[in-house]
Symmetry: D2
Subunit: 354 residues, 4 copies
C-alpha cells in the first residue's frame, strides 16, 4: 500500500534513504535462466552516479552494487534477486540546517505532515538517490527483454530544444558528451548553458526523450494498464518529473483525425507513427517513443525565504553539492523505468492466450 | 494481471464489451457508512452518455445503472458494490464491415495479434463505452471523499486554447454549454469549430484541464505511487489520451529553479503553485491541477486505405455515429478517474501513522 | 484490501448479498481461446444449489448464471468475464427476527462491530450464497486447466468416517447419492444419520476429501505462495471450514522421517505419497489430496439464548430452511476453489523460466 | 507473482538463499511512529537460531540483523524497512553430494523441473533459513500491534501430546525448556524422546499451538481473506507444515450444532470458544487459537535410495547438522507469521468504516 513496489509480474521493491547505511531492492518474478551481466549493471549505475562529469553534482559516491541472492552460476534462478548499494558518503552534518525548516518545493513539509516526523538527513526517502536501485533493476530487466533496445537522451535543457527528437536514429554521440544529447552542436550549447546556470547559483529543467526499438506486438493490457499509461506512471514516479507524452502527445491534440491516423502497410507496420508504437494500450511493433519533462532542481545556491516547523519565516541558504540540471543523470533512470515496464508486460503477455 | 482493476485500497474492477449484454464493475474497499446518492451517480452518467447534445454522437444509450450489492438503507455496507449497465442499443450489423479489416489507429490489429481473435462488434473491450463503469465508480468515490471538489473542463479544441486554465475560478458556465468550456466566448467558438469538423467528415483532438480543491495534505505515496504518477496513469488509461502534465508541466521544464520554486506562507500554503498541489508525490493542500491531451477520434467519415487480416489492402468507409471531438464527453471521465485516485489515496493515507 | 478478490493471475472478484437483487463476479486474467461450456458451468451450479435432494435445505433458488462479457463465439476473449446470478427467492420477512439480535456462532455481531451496521437480511455477505459465484468461476477454471481432474467427496459426517479416503479410486458413485460419498454402504449410513439430525432440529459437521489428478510438475511458488498454503487459504475461506490438511496431514506429525519420506522411482514419481503431491510448495506430479473439516451449521431448529444489539439477553428460535449438514452441497465449492488455485498457479508457472 | 511477498497493507518481501552472501527482507507499509526495539528483534531471532540447545542442529549461525532503512531515532518512519542477515557459515562443500541427486521429500526435484536448474547449495531458497527474515518482520509486527500478545508453544512431539493445549494459561515455562513445551513433565518426556530419535539417526514430527490474546474485534475480511484463512496460508507457508486447524478444528467436524455453538454473554464475549476467536472470518475479541502440524524433517542420518538428475538410482547418506525435530525452533516462526497476519489486518481494518 505504501507504494514501494513497481510492477505486477516482474516486480521491484526498493528501500533506503539517502543517508542511511544502504539502499537496495528486491526483484521478484525474474524467470530462471536469464544470463545476468553484473558489469552491465554497474555500467548503468555509473551513468547515473554523481561526479561523473563537470556539469553534475560533485559528490563522491561509488555506488557499487552487491547482489545477495537469486543469481547462481551467472544466471537468474527464479528466486528473488536481493541487492544492496552501501552509502559511503553520508555527511549528515551537511543537513542539520534543514532539520527544522522546510526547503521550498521539496517534500520536507508534506513528509512532516503525513508521517508526523521525517528522516531529515538529505531528503531521506524523497532523495533521488533511491533511483539507484531502479537502475540496477532496470538493467536486469533489459537483459530479460533483449533484443529490445531502449535508448533515452536529453532533447531539451531550458529553452534549448532539439526538434523532432523521435526522428533521431544516430545514438552514437549520446554517451560521448556529458549532457547526453545526441546532437553534437546542441550538446555543446546545452553544456555551456548548464555551466552558466550553475555559475548563477541556479538550476534549470529539461526534457528527456526515450525510444524503444524491437518491441514485439502485444505488450500492454487493454484498460487501466495500457502500455503508455503504465509508462506514464513509471516516468512520473521519477523525482522532478512534471509531464509525459507519447507519440504525437500534446501536439496531437491540435490535429484532425485525417492527419493523425496512422495508415497500415501490408505487413501490419504503419506509414506514420503518431501512435508512438502503441494502439489501444498495446504495442503494435513500431518504435515506442515518449517525452518526459523535468522541472528545475529545487535546491538552488541562493538564499530563499521559507518557514520552519513552527510556521515561522526563516531564510535558507542553499548548501551542498547539487545538480544544476537533472536531465543528464536522469537518462539511465528513464531507460531503467522503461525496461521495468516492458519486462513486466512481457511476462504478463505470456498469459494472453491459451 | 490483465489490468482490469484500478486502485489498491479503493478498487474498481470493470467488465464488459460495447456490444455484449451489459457492462459493469465491482468496487471493493469502499468503507461502510458512506451515504450513496444514486441520482448523483446517474447524473454523472448522463454527462457522459451519447446523444446529450448536437456536437456528440447521436447514438441512443440510456445508460441506466443498476446497483446489485454493497448498498443497504442508503449507505455503503463495506462489502463490494457490484453494478451493471445493460447495453440496449447493440446494432451488431453496423460493425460487420470491420470484422476482417483493421481500422487505422484503432486497436483491431493489436487485439488480433495479442489474443488470436477478437470480439469485433464495435470495438468490444477497446470501446470507450467501458468508461461508463468508471463514471459510476468515480461518482461513488466523490461521495466518499467529500468535501473534496473535482472539476474538469475543456481547455482546448484543436488550436482553440484557453489561456491559463488553472487560474479559472468560475466554473458555473461549464455545464451550461455542450463543449463544457468555462468561458462563454471560447465555448461558442469551440462549438462552431466542432460542427465544422463534423461537416468535413473529420475529427479533432483537444485538452481537458482538471482542478481538485479542498484536498487534504498527505495524499500520495513517496516513490512509485506518487500522487501525480498515479493520476497520470489514470488519465493515460482513458481512451485517446496522449499526454499528461501537472502543475507547471512541460512549460516548467523551461524555467529556472529560482523562478519555479513555490515559496511558503507561514500557514504552510505556498505563494505560487507551480507544484500543482503535489510535492514529492504527496498533496500539499494547494489546488491540484493538470492537463490531459486527447488525440482526434480515429473513426472519420472519410474513406481510408487499410489492410484486412490477410494483409491485403482494402478501402474502408467510416460508418456509424461517432463523436467529432471526444473532449466534451470525456470531462466526467477525467473527473471520475481523479476521484478514484483521490479516494484510493485517502484510504491508503489512513495508515501513514501509528 | 477488502479481500473480495482471489488469485493473482487468474483472479475472481465476487460481489453480492444473499438477499440483494443479484450476486456475481468478474474473472480477470483468463487467457483468450479457452472453449467455454456454459452447460458445464450450470451443471456445477446445480450441484451446489438448494433443494436438490431430501437432505439439504428446501429453499428454491434456480441459480441461473448469465455471462455478460468476455466470451465470444464460444471462447474466452482474454477480457474480463463478468457474470451474474439473480436472486429470485429473497424472503426478507423471514429474517426480521435477526435484525437486532445476534445469532450464536454467526457473523452478525462482528459485522455490526466492524462496519457499524449490517445488511441483516439472511446473513447478507456472510451467507454461503456468495459461494455460487465461486462455483461459476471454478467451473471456468476447470475448463482452462483440463485435463487436470478434480474430484471432491464427503469422507465424514459426524463420527461416520471413511477410512483412507485418499486411496479411493472409484468415483462413480459420488454423484449418485445425495451425500456425495463414494462408498454406497457408508453413503446410506450418512444419509440416515443426517435425516436423524434434522429430525432432532440439530446440525452436524463433516469432512470433505479432494483429489486432483494429472496435475503437472511445477505448480506453486516456493515461499509464501506454496501450492498447499494457497489451497489452505482457499479451503479455509469457504464458510464453516475449521481445518485443512494435505498429504499425511496431522497424522504425519506423529511419524518418523524414515517412515514418512517418499522415495523416488526412476521416472521421478514416488513410491508413497505422504507429500500429497506437493514438495516444497510445488506440485511434483503425484495426486494432490487434502481434507477439509466443516463445523456443524450454526442455525439449529432449537431455541437458544443470545443477546441483542443493546447487550440484552433474548431467546432466539431457529427459523427458515437450512441445511442440517453442509458437506454434501459444499463438494462442488471445494472443487471450484481447488480449480481456481490450480488455474492461477498454471498461469503463474508460465513465467518460471526464460 | 512469484510469491515472495506476504501481506497486503503491512507487507514483507523476503530474499535470500541458505548459502548466498545474505538473506533479508523489506517491510513496506509499517506506519510511521512505531517504536522499534532492535533488541527484541534479535531476541526473537535467537529463539529461532541453530545451536541454541542440545536438541537442535549444532550449526553455528549468529543471525545478526542489520536494519538498513525505515527506522530513524528509534521509530519507524513510514518508509520501507530494509534489513539483512549475513550468512556467515556457508560450508558449500557439505552439499556437493546433493548437486546431482534428489533428496527424498525435499524440493530438489521440483526445483529442477520448474526452473531448469537450481542453487543446490543447502537447499537454496527452499531452506528454512529463509524464515529468519520472517522472524525479523514478525517481531516488528508485534511491536506495531501491541498490546496484542501472541504465544506459541509445542503441544505434541510424535505421539507425545499435550491435552487441551488451548486451555493452557501459564506460559512461564515455555522459554525455560529446549522443547518450548509449557508443561514441565511433558517437556522432559519430549526432550528425552527427541534425543532418542536423534540417536536413531531419525527425525520426528510435532504440533505447535498458538494463542493470541487481546485481539480487538473486527480483524479479518469477510470472504476470501477471512482471518483464519490467511492465518492458515501463513502457517502452511512455513517449511514442513502439513495441517492447520483453528478453534474446534477437525474435532469440531464431529460435533452437533447444539454442542458447538458459542453462546453469548451480555458483553459480547462468548461462554465457550469453539470458534477460536473468529466468527465469519472476523475476530470476535475472544482468544484466537490454532494448531499447526509439522512433518518429520526429511533429512535423516540413514542411507536412503533415491535418484539423480539422469533418473538413475543412487544411494544417499544423510550428512550435515540437522534438526531431529523442527518444532522447538519453529515456535518463533509461528509467532512471527501470526504477528504479520494480525498487523496486516489491523491496518486493513482501519478502512472498514467511513
Amino acid at each position: 500500500m505504501s507504494g514501494n513496489t513497481f510492477g505486477k509480474s516482474f516486480t521491484l521493491t526498493t528501500f533506503g534513504e539517502s543517508h542511511g547505511p544502504a539502499l537496495g531492492g528486491v526483484i521478484d518474478g525474474c524467470p530462471a535462466g536469464v544470463p545476468i551481466d553484473i558489469e552491465a549493471i554497474q555500467k548503468d549505475l555509473d551513468r547515473r552516479k554523481p561526479g561523473q562529469s563537470a556539469i553534475v553534482t560533485q559528490r563522491k559516491e561509488p555506488d557499487t552494487v552487491e547482489i545477495y541472492s537469486g543469481v547462481f552460476e551467472g544466471k537468474s534462478t527464479g528466486t528473488p534477486i536481493g541487492f544492496v548499494i552501501h552509502n559511503t558518503n553520508q555527511k549528515s552534518k551537511d543537513y542539520t540546517h534543514i532539520k527544522d525548516s522546510y526547503r521550498p518545493s521539496h517534500a520536507d513539509y508534506v513528509y512532516d505532515q503525513k508521517y508526523g516526523f521525517r528522516d531529515y538527513r538529505g531528503g531521506g526517502r524523497s532523495s533521488a538517490r533511491e533511483t539507484a536501485a531502479r537502475v540496477v533493476a532496470g538493467s536486469i530487466a533489459k537483459q530479460l527483454i533483449a533484443p529490445v533496445h531502449i535508448q533515452a537522451f536529453v532533447s531539451a535543457v531550458g529553452e534549448l530544444t532539439l526538434p523532432n527528437p523521435e526522428k533521431i536514429s544516430d545514438f552514437s554521440f549520446i554517451e560521448q558528451n556529458p549532457v547526453r544529447c545526441p546532437d553534437p552542436a546542441m550538446a555543446a550549447e546545452m553544456e555551456s548553458y548548464i555551466k552558466q546556470v550553475r555559475k548563477d547559483g541556479d538550476t534549470v529543467g529539461g526534457v528527456i526523450t526515450c525510444v524503444a526499438k524491437n518491441v514485439p506486438v502485444g505488450l500492454g493490457e487493454p484498460v487501466f494498464d495500457k502500455l503508455h499509461a503504465v509508462l506514464g506512471q513509471a516516468m512520473l514516479s521519477i523525482n522532478a518529473v512534471k509531464g509525459f507524452e507519447y507519440g504525437s502527445g500534446f501536439a496531437g491534440a491540435v490535429l484532425r483525425g485525417s492527419a493523425h491516423n496512422d495508415l497500415y502497410n501490408e505487413d501490419g507496420t504503419t506509414k506514420t507513427n503518431n501512435s508512438g508504437g502503441v494502439q489501444g494500450g498495446i504495442s503494435n511493433g513500431m518504435d515506442i517513443y515518449f517525452n518526459v519533462a523535468f522541472k528545475p532542481v529545487a535546491t538552488i545556491m541562493q538564499s530563499q525565504e521559507t518557514i520552519d516547523n513552527k510556521g515561522e519565516t526563516v531564510t535558507m541558504e542553499g548548501k551542498g553539492r547539487h545538480d544544476p540540471c537533472v536531465v543528464p543523470r536522469a537518462v539511465p533512470i528513464v531507460e531503467a523505468m522503461t525496461a521495468l515496464v516492458l519486462a513486466d508486460f512481457t511476462l504478463r503477455n505470456r498469459n494472453s492466450k491459451l
